[in-house]
Symmetry: C2
Subunit: 337 residues, 2 copies
C-alpha cells in the first residue's frame, strides 16, 4: 500500500514519532549493585579501606548507569558493572576470589533477562577471567542454562572468551583467610562433618537494572565460600536462588549464606511475593531477608528492583557493600546499616 504523502499525514506521523521518542526518553532507568554482605563493621575497616570500597562501588554503579542512560541493553549494564567488581581485589569474585580447600579458585556466575525470561550460568570455572561474561555466553550462545566445570570452560573457550591462569585470581588477603579457615576446620574435627561455613563475610557481587526498554536484568558472580570442598555449589549460579529476573515482577541478586538462599529460593520468592501477593519490592525483599531468613540464621542480603525502577537493598547482617542510582538519577553508596 502506498501511503498518501499529504502534509496532514506527515504531520501526524511526525507527532507520532516524537511521542514515541519522548516516551522512550521518558522511560526511566535504574541500577543497584552489591559487593557482598556479612560482619562488616566500622571497626573492621580503616578509613582508607572504606574509601577504596566506596570508590570501586561508585565506579561500578556509574558505569552501568551510564550505559542505561545511553539506552544500551540492561545486559550490557549488568555485565559492565559486574566486570568492574570482578576485576577488583576487594570483592570475592574474579580477581580476589576466595580459595577452595585445595588452594585454588572455583568461580560461579549467573545472569537472567526478565523480558526474554532467558538465563545463563556457569559453576566451578577456574580460568575464565570474567565469569559473568561466560554466564551471558551460555544464555546467548547455547540452548542450555547451566554449564559446569571443565565443560563450561570448554564451551567458553570455543567462543574465545578471555582466559587466565587460575593463580591470577590469587590475593594474599584471601590466602591468609584460607589458612585461618583450615585451622578452624582442623579444630572442628570433632564436629559430625568438616564442611563448615567458615567465612564471616559472604563476598559475592551482583547487579540488577531496569533498562530503557523496560527490561529487568539481574546478574551475580562469586568465588564461593572460603575452603569450600567437594564441588560445593552455592546460590550464585542457581537461577531462582541467587539470581532472578522477570519483567512482570522484579530482578534480584543475592549475597549470603548460599545454602539458605537455595533452600528458600530467595530471588524467585521475592519476585513471587511481588507478582502474586502484590507486595512492594521493599516489603517483598524485606520480608524474605528479615522474616524468613534472619530467624533461621540465613545471613545475607539482596538487591532488588521492580518494573517502575523502585529499588530495595535489605540485609540482615552488619553490613552490605552496595550502591544504586535510582530512577531520578540519585546516587547512593553505602556499607553499614
Amino acid at each position: 500500500m502506498n501511503l498518501p504523502k499529504s502534509n496532514s499525514l506527515r504531520a501526524v506521523l511526525f507527532i507520532f514519532t516524537m511521542l514515541s521518542a519522548t516516551s522512550a526518553m521518558a522511560q526511566q532507568v535504574a541500577i543497584a549493585i552489591h559487593g557482598g554482605a556479612g560482619t562488616i563493621t566500622r571497626a573492621k575497616l580503616t578509613e582508607a579501606q572504606e574509601q577504596q570500597y566506596r570508590s570501586t562501588l561508585t565506579k561500578a554503579v556509574q558505569a552501568g548507569y551510564t550505559l542505561l542512560k545511553e539506552g544500551k541493553p540492561g545486559l550490557d549494564a549488568v555485565t559492565e558493572s559486574i566486570r568492574i567488581l570482578e576485576n577488583s581485589p576487594l570483592f570475592n569474585a574474579g580477581y580476589g576470589a576466595v580459595y577452595t580447600y585445595d588452594g585454588r579458585h572455583e568461580l560461579d556466575a549467573s545472569i537472567m533477562h526478565g523480558g526474554k525470561m532467558n538465563a545463563g550460568a556457569v559453576s566451578g570455572v577456574t580460568t575464565i577471567k570474567n565469569p559473568i561474561d561466560a554466564a551471558r555466553l551460555v544464555m546467548e550462545k547455547s540452548v542450555h542454562v547451566m554449564l559446569s566445570g571443565e565443560g563450561a570452560e570448554s564451551f567458553a573457550r570455543l567462543h574465545s572468551i578471555p582466559v587466565v591462569e587460575n593463580s591470577s585470581f590469587d590475593t594474599p588477603f584471601r590466602y591468609e583467610a584460607l589458612q585461618q579457615a583450615k585451622q578452624r576446620i582442623e579444630r572442628d574435627r570433632n564436629a559430625s562433618i568438616d564442611l563448615r561455613a567458615v567465612d564471616e563475610k559472604f563476598g559475592t557481587v551482583g547487579a540488577v537494572v531496569l533498562d530503557a526498554e523496560g527490561n529487568l536484568v539481574a546478574g551475580t558472580s562469586t568465588g564461593g565460600m572460603t575452603a569450600k570442598r567437594y564441588g560445593r555449589i552455592g546460590d550464585s549460579p542457581i537461577i531462582g536462588a541467587g539470581t532472578y529476573a522477570a519483567n512482570d515482577a522484579c530482578a534480584v541478586s543475592a549475597t549470603g549464606h548460599g545454602e539458605f538462599f537455595i533452600r528458600y529460593h530467595v530471588a524467585a520468592d521475592i519476585c513471587a511475593r511481588v507478582k502474586y501477593s502484590n507486595m512492594t519490592i521493599n516489603d517483598a525483599a524485606g520480608s524474605v531477608i528479615h522474616e524468613v531468613l534472619k530467624p533461621i540464621g540465613g545471613d545475607g542480603g539482596v538487591i532488588a528492583i521492580d518494573s517502575k525502577g523502585n529499588i530495595a537493598m535489605p540485609f540482615n547482617t552488619e553490613g552490605m557493600y552496595r550502591a544504586s542510582v535510582d530512577s531520578n538519577g540519585k546516587l547512593t553508596v553505602a556499607i553499614y546499616k
Copy 2:
C-alpha cells in the same frame, strides 16, 4: 519433678496417649511418582513394553506407599520409590541413564524435606549407584545443599555409599539413542551451536509424598539429556526448578525440557501459586504446565501434592509415565493422556 502416680492421672495419660495415636493414625498419607514425559504414544510402545512400565511403576509407588502407611518418614518413601526406578533400565536415571556426548553417564539428583525446609543435591556424578541416596546424604550429612562432579563423589564415598563402574549404567537401547543423536547433531552443524535438545523423551524419575507426620517431601533423579556436553546441568538437581517441597504449600518433582524448567523455576512457582494465590494444587500445577510452559515450547510435566494429600500430575506432552496412591488408598497407574 515426680509425677503423682494416682489412678486418675494414669487414666488421663492413657486417654491422651490414645488420642495421640488415633490422631497419628488418622493422618492421611499419599504418594505420586513419575518416570518421565515426552512423545510417548500407544503406537510407540508394544503391549509387552507397556506392561513392563506399568509393572515397575506399580512396584515403585506401592513400595513408597507401604512405608508411608507404616508411619515411616517421607524421606524413606521418596528414596525407596526412586531407587526402584533408578534400578530399572526402563527409565533415564541410574541404570538405564542416557549417554553423554562422550559416551558416559553423568547423573543428577535432588531431594527436599518440606518440614525442615532442607535440601540436598548432586550433579554430574558418575559412579554412585543410586544418586538419590547421595542427594539425601548431602542434605543430612553436610552443611551444603549442592555438591558437584568428583567432589560430590568423594563426599559420598566418605560416607560409604555404594559405588559402581560408570559402564554398569550402560544399556544397548540408550547407546543406540546416542548414535542417533550424534548423527542428528552432525547434520545440524550449520546451526549456530551444536547444543541441541535431541531427546524426544525427557526421562527423569521422581516422587512426592505426604507422610504420616504431615511432611511433604519431593525427590528427582535423572541421567540428563542424551548427548549432553559441556557439563550441562538440567533442572533435576536444581532446588526450586526440578524439585521443591514446603509444608505450607506443596511438593513437586518435574520432568521435561530442563532449561525451561530452570528459567521458570517451575517447582517453586507451583508452590508459590498455592501459597500466595491460594490456588488448588491442580490449578497451580496445571496453569504452569499448560499456560506458562506449553506456549513457549517448554515440554514436560510434574507430579505435585499438597498438605491435604491432593495430587496433580499434569503434562503437556503426549504421555508421562506416572502412578499414585491417593489419601483414600486408590492406586492409579497411567502413561498416556
